[in-house]
């Protein structure tokens, strides 16, 4: 069986031809079907850019990317978004303030060509641990954690197999983070999902993933099993530095 995600020698640039900035340099990684893979590294190291390149939000790229064995071109079709969905960091920015939960979910379901929308909206709300009582609420009537649950419900609407998670709990309190991470674990088990997850928090990545890539300045310096990371078995100095800094926050 082919890998859920395969990225080979990926380069990504931003800007115009006379002023190009290379945000990702020759990155390669594979994520097996059903696995959960983390991306860690300092801010600006290119983690989000890899997710954005996959979803077609960073158009200037070279290299090979494939999803379930199918190579990606520079266009993403409807089928792609039925397989791959993304959840962003900021639940406050990612929901439209004038759209009710019902509108967000119904429209997304409609877009993906589903017919039994009413049932599906209720099912999605149950999936993310919110009852039908939340259906007609607006974003300002929801807490940060509830908003992130809606963002996850919206991503699940298409019944995707792969979720790209970009710091999904960084803006939340730790108590709410725990609920969302538990939810993501349950959903992965129930729906057989594959995760590619970005976080600056090593403890979060270690909790959620089996393997992770460590990034610095656009490059992947090391791909490491989480078990080895916990045991301090690193092969690159930078990974060791990162581990040390996150364990000893006070220099």
């Amino acid at each position: 069986m082919s890998d859920a995600i395969s990225i080979q020698n990926l380069n990504v640039w931003f800007g115009e031809h006379h002023d190009l900035f290379q945000a990702v340099k020759n990155a390669s990684l594979t994520v097996a079907t059903g696995a959960s893979f983390g991306l860690v590294g300092e801010s600006g190291s290119g983690k989000s850019t890899i997710l954005r390149a996959l979803t077609g939000l960073a158009p200037q790229w070279e290299g090979q990317m494939s999803i379930n064995g199918t190579d990606l071109t520079h266009k993403r079709d409807k089928q792609f978004y039925k397989t791959v969905q993304m959840v962003f960091q900021d639940p406050y920015a990612s929901l439209h303030p004038r759209q009710s939960v019902d509108q967000v979910l119904s429209e997304t379901l409609h877009l993906h060509g589903f017919k039994d929308i009413d049932n599906r909206v209720n099912k999605l709300l149950l999936d993310v641990g919110l009852g039908p009582a939340f259906r007609f609420r607006y974003p300002h009537q929801l807490s940060g954690g509830q908003r992130q649950r809606i963002a996850i419900a919206r991503a699940l609407a298409a019944e995707p197999k792969i979720l790209l998670l970009d710091e999904p709990t960084s803006a939340l309190d730790v108590s709410v983070q725990a609920e969302i991470l538990n939810l993501l674990c349950d959903l992965r088990a129930e729906h057989g999902l594959t995760y590619l997850m970005v976080s600056h928090d090593l403890a979060v990545v270690a909790h959620m993933c089996e393997r992770a890539a460590v990034m610095r300045n656009g490059e992947i310096v090391e791909i490491i099993e989480v078990a080895d990371m916990r045991a301090g078995k690193t092969t690159h100095d930078y990974t060791a530095q990162l581990l040390h800094a996150s364990a000893n926050r006070v220099a």
């Binding site: 108590s175 725990a178 674990c185 600056h200 270690a206 909790h207 996150s246 006070v250």
Partner: protein
């Protein structure tokens, strides 16, 4: 330990259409020459507590307290002009997001020079020299280049250090730092923390360190207040935070994924209505 600041029965209230929302509900604590952490979830009243000390709560918000004493002088009895002096000379505050605190259309250098000359009579050349020294004191290496730069050209870590440099100009006795490192990478966090640490140790400053990050506060501070729904539910020695007694504090700690000790499932906080009702714990030295 000498008490620098004593806060007695502080309330912050916001009148609204349906009544009054009490955001801070009767907290009492004191601060010495120490690193005092305030932790709690968002909305628990941490920032308002910090701002209320400096009387920075805007109308219609109301601040009430028995007293807020700085060296025994009640700040609540001071005129607005006297308060400006307190803010300029005695107590400084670093806000969470440096991008909102620096003026975007003025170079960093001009802003520091202006802040310095507000405080001390000095020629431009002297003020420039002093400003470069300030930047070097917060471990900014190419200070001359930074002086010419605009805030948007600075990274988050630089911006936060510049803010701290500006706050240090008056040599304050108390620094209130509201989530000063939350937006920074761990490597930069360490640098900013060691700057503040030096000030406490070398200048005998009192530091109020507001944060939602329990691990960080337990590593960095001397004492910690844990806030819940506008009240203090528990006070403890920072290095004993992991032995906390209150179920709320224990719940927060239990909800954290641990790098050193993997767990299958993260603990979820079940909130007891009694936590809001219990009187605020006194946190005096």
């Amino acid at each position: 330990m000498t008490t620098l600041l004593d806060v007695d029965n502080l309330w912050v209230r916001f009148p609204n259409r349906t009544g009054v929302f009490d955001a801070v509900r009767g907290v009492s604590f004191s601060l010495g020459r120490e690193r005092l952490g305030i932790v709690g979830e968002s909305g628990s009243g941490k920032s308002l507590t910090g701002r209320a000390i400096l009387r920075l709560i805007r109308s219609p918000g109301i601040v009430e307290a028995g007293h807020i004493n700085l060296h025994g002088e009640n700040l609540l009895e001071k005129s607005e002009a006297q308060m400006r002096k307190v803010r300029g000379e005695k107590i400084s505050m670093v806000m969470q997001d440096p991008k909102f605190s620096l003026n975007p259309v003025m170079t960093v250098g001009d802003q520091i020079i202006e802040a310095y000359r507000l405080h001390a009579k000095a020629s431009k050349a002297e003020a420039y020299k002093k400003s470069v020294e300030m930047l070097e004191a917060v471990s900014i290496r190419d200070a001359d280049r930074v002086m010419k730069a605009y805030p948007h050209e600075m990274s988050g870590g630089m911006g936060q250090r510049i803010m701290i440099a500006m706050m240090l100009i008056p040599n304050p006795e108390i620094l209130i730092a509201d989530e000063p490192t939350s937006a920074l990478d761990v490597s930069v966090q360490g640098q900013v923390l060691s700057i503040m640490d030096k000030l406490v140790k070398e200048r005998g400053m009192g530091l109020i360190f507001i944060s939602h990050d329990l691990n960080l506060v337990s590593q960095f501070c001397d004492r910690v207040l844990i806030m819940y729904a506008g009240r203090i539910v528990e006070v403890c020695e920072a290095d004993k935070l992991h032995e906390a007694k209150h179920p709320y504090t224990q719940g927060l700690l239990g909800s954290l994924p641990r790098f050193d000790a993997p767990r299958d499932r993260l603990q979820v906080l079940t909130r007891d209505p009694a936590w809001r009702e219990a009187p605020s714990v006194e946190a005096r030295l």
